[in-house]
Amino acid sequence: MTLSLSSVVTKYGAVRALNGVDLSVPDGTLTAVLGANGAGKTTLLRTISGLVAPSSGSITFDGTEITGLPADRIARMGLGHVPEHGGVIRELTVRENLRLGGLWCRNPAFDEVLDLFPPLTDKLGRQASTLSGGERQMLAIGRALMGKPRVLLLDEPSLGLAPLVTAAIMRVLRDLRDRTGLTVLLVEQNARSALSVAERAYVLALGAVALDGSAESISVEALHEAYLGVNR
């Protein structure tokens, strides 16, 4: 089990964004996390990568307890996180953003990333702020891939990306999983496309796991029910 969470609770002040989440992501799998707006998907990823500290519960990565460790430590352990809405450093150039992603890696995946995202190639020297919305998203994903992580957390990676690019990313993720055993935790609003690439899925509602199972086993009806659970 590469990543596992047990009874994780995360609060923002009085709001319990995660309310006892149990979750495990086996090695070399692509796991989707689904859920309505505000279900706690983003919070789940931020808690795993150490950007917010859970108030209780435990998270292990490769058997090591990482609960409460600083985000940079976790990142250097080989966990990549592409946060919601990019997270590129707009003041740095494209090249510097990429370099940053590969600092901890002996041979960063520079060429691979440029192959995956051709639009970045001729903009390496430009300030990241000049990029278009989709190009920034590419850069964010590219930066996470640079360091060749073993686990990748993706928060709505297809946001603002053209269909071709989204498909290419999914292809690469599957390819990496097969070649290098990359483990992926994928948050998507578009349940259908997420389920089509994932093996497993968790559905969150009100900060807790409402449903989980293999991707095929989760039907659209069941999903709807879990989503609607929000209004119960």
């Binding site: 309505a36 707006n37 505000g38 809405h85 639009p119 903009k123 000049t130 990029l131 278009s132 919305g133 989709g134 190009e135 998203q137 590419m138 709505e156 946001l159 603002g160 990306l161 053209a162 269909p163 071709l164 690019v165 498909a167 609003q189 578009n190 349940a191 259908r192 989503y227």
Partner: protein
């Protein structure tokens, strides 16, 4: 049908990079025009040119027949053009209602002096704007959160606030930059209905990557690639254009 906005041979360059090359298109009243294309194709730049945020190197833009020349972004709202920004672009330090009230600014009639002195006229004006803003929020089903700060709201709601801000001034042309991105499936369906309803009142231009949605919502679609219009026409036609498939769609949708 009246031609509201027409863009003729607009070219935009950013030191060495051609973001738009000789782009021409027209928006007619009561239609929903889709603008699609690969990332970096120049869609947002097109909006920016219309809004006056980016100056084109060449080409002209007409609004209701008159040429806009060196217009400023803030002059647009009072002309009847509203836009949303890619992402959110809300004012984080202001409540939902205040956010929408800012958009209602062009409707205000009292001058600065009467506002400064807090005269009755200003108060009446303000009350009217407030009603209008609340109505708009209600229309989008989010009147309940009018006092909340944007940061405390789910993304989908925030997107509606941004839409409300653009809608409140009752524009004749609405420019929406990726309105469906980040929304859940049911929200996307709702948005479709809303825009269809809107199109009876104003013209809409949407930039969007959710191609199924674009096909459902738009009556016409323009496809940009590397800053050039590579195809334009009805959705069904666009979907099967080989250049569009190669550049953008990958597989026919």
């Amino acid at each position: 049908m009246i031609e509201l906005l027409s863009i003729e041979k607009v070219t935009v360059r950013f030191d060495g990079l051609v973001a738009l090359r000789d782009v021409s298109l027209a928006v007619e009243d009561g239609t929903v025009l889709g603008v699609i294309g690969p990332n970096g194709a120049g869609k947002t730049t097109l909006f920016n040119v219309v809004s006056g945020l980016v100056r084109p190197q060449s080409g002209t833009i007409r609004w209701c027949g008159t040429q806009l020349h060196g217009h400023r972004p803030d002059s647009l709202a009072s002309m009847g053009i509203s836009r949303t920004l890619q992402g959110l672009g809300l004012f984080p330090g202001m409540s939902v209602l205040d956010n929408v009230l800012v958009g209602a600014g062009p409707l205000a009639r009292s001058g600065p002096l009467s506002t400064l002195l807090g005269l009755r006229r200003a108060a009446r004006d303000e009350a009217e704007l407030r009603d209008r803003a609340m109505e708009t929020l209600e229309g989008l089903g989010i009147a309940g959160v009018h006092a909340a700060m944007p940061s405390s709201l789910p993304y989908g709601i925030r997107k509606r606030v941004a839409l409300a801000r653009a809608l409140v001034a009752e524009p004749r042309l609405l420019l929406l930059d990726e309105p469906a991105s980040g929304l859940a499936a049911d929200e996307i369906d709702e948005l479709e209905e809303r825009i269809t309803a809107l199109s009876t009142r104003c013209a809409v231009v949407v930039v969007e990557h959710n191609i199924d949605w674009v096909m459902r919502v738009c009556s016409r679609v323009v496809v940009l690639d590397f800053g050039e219009v590579i195809a334009a026409g009805r959705p069904a036609y666009i979907q099967n254009d080989q250049r569009v498939i190669d550049a953008y769609l990958g597989v026919p949708a």
